[in-house]
Amino acid sequence: MGTGNSSIDSFDEVALSCLPELARFARSLTHDASDADDLVQATYLRAFEAWHTFEAGTDCRRWLFTICRNVFLRTRERAQRVVSVEDPEAETLGAVHGHKRARDAGLDDLFARIDLGPALDRAIDMLSPAFSAVVRLIDVDGRTYEEVAAMLDVPIGTVRSRLFRARRLLQDALLAHALDAGFGRAITASRIGR
C-alpha cells in the first residue's frame, strides 16, 4: 500500500481536488448532510488504501464515485430497491396537471413569488434515493444525463424517466407546501392531488 509522503501528496493533489463533486454525489445518495460527510470521509479512506491501484492519468472522479457508491450500498443495504421505470412522456404530461393546479390556486408565479429553497431541499430528501439522486445531480448540480448515467451505472433512458418523475413529485410537494403556508387561493385537497 503506497502510504509514503509522495503518495499522500499525490492523493491530496489528485483525489482531494474532486471533493466538492464527490460531496454533492454523496448527498444525492444519503439524503442527509451529516451522513453525506461521513460517506465522503469513508470513501476517501477507502480510496487512500487503494491509491496504489489508481492509474495516473485516468478519471479519478469516476473512480471515486464508484468507490462512494459501493461504500454506500454496503453500509446502507437499501439502495438496491428496484425503482420501476415510468414512461417519461407520461411524466411530462403530468407536468401539465401540476401547472394547471398551480394556476387554479393562483400560484402560476409560485417560483418567482416564494423562496422555496428550504422546502425544495426537504422535498428532495423525501424522495426515494433513485429519484433524489438524479434530481440533485442534474437539476441542482448541473450534470448531464450522460454523466449521471455513468455515475449511477444505469442507462440514460432510466436517468431521464427518473428525472421526469422526480420533477413531478417535487412540484406536487411544493404546491402542497405553498398552500399549507397560506399562499394562493384555497382549493380542496382532492384537487391538488393529495
Partner: protein
C-alpha cells in the same frame, strides 16, 4: 390536449410532450424550432413552459459553492493523514 375530433395529438400536447427535453436543451434542432414556433403563438403553453423554467431555476439555486466544502476537506485530510500515520 388531445383533439376530440380525430384522436390526433394537438399541437399543445405535442409541445408539452417535449417540454423537459426542450428545457434541458436535449431536442434536435428541428424539434426545438418547432416548439419555439408553437410557443410564439400559444399563450397557454408559453405560460406553462415559463412555470417549469422557474421550477428548474429554483432547483439550481440549491447548488452549494465549492468553497462551502472547505471544512469537510480539512476533516478528510486529517483522517487520511491519521490513517497514513497509523500504517507507517
Amino acid at each position: 390536449m388531445t383533439n376530440p375530433n380525430n384522436g390526433q395529438m394537438s399541437d399543445c400536447e405535442r409541445a408539452v410532450r417535449q417540454l423537459w427535453d426542450y428545457l434541458d436543451g436535449r431536442l434536435p434542432d428541428a424539434s426545438r424550432e418547432w416548439v419555439e414556433a408553437h410557443l410564439a403563438q400559444c399563450e397557454s403553453c408559453t405560460s406553462h413552459f415559463n412555470f417549469e423554467r422557474g421550477f428548474l431555476d429554483a432547483l439550481s439555486t440549491l447548488r452549494r459553492d465549492d468553497e462551502q466544502f472547505a471544512t469537510l476537506r480539512e476533516r478528510v485530510k486529517r483522517a487520511v493523514a491519521a490513517r497514513a500515520g497509523g500504517e507507517t
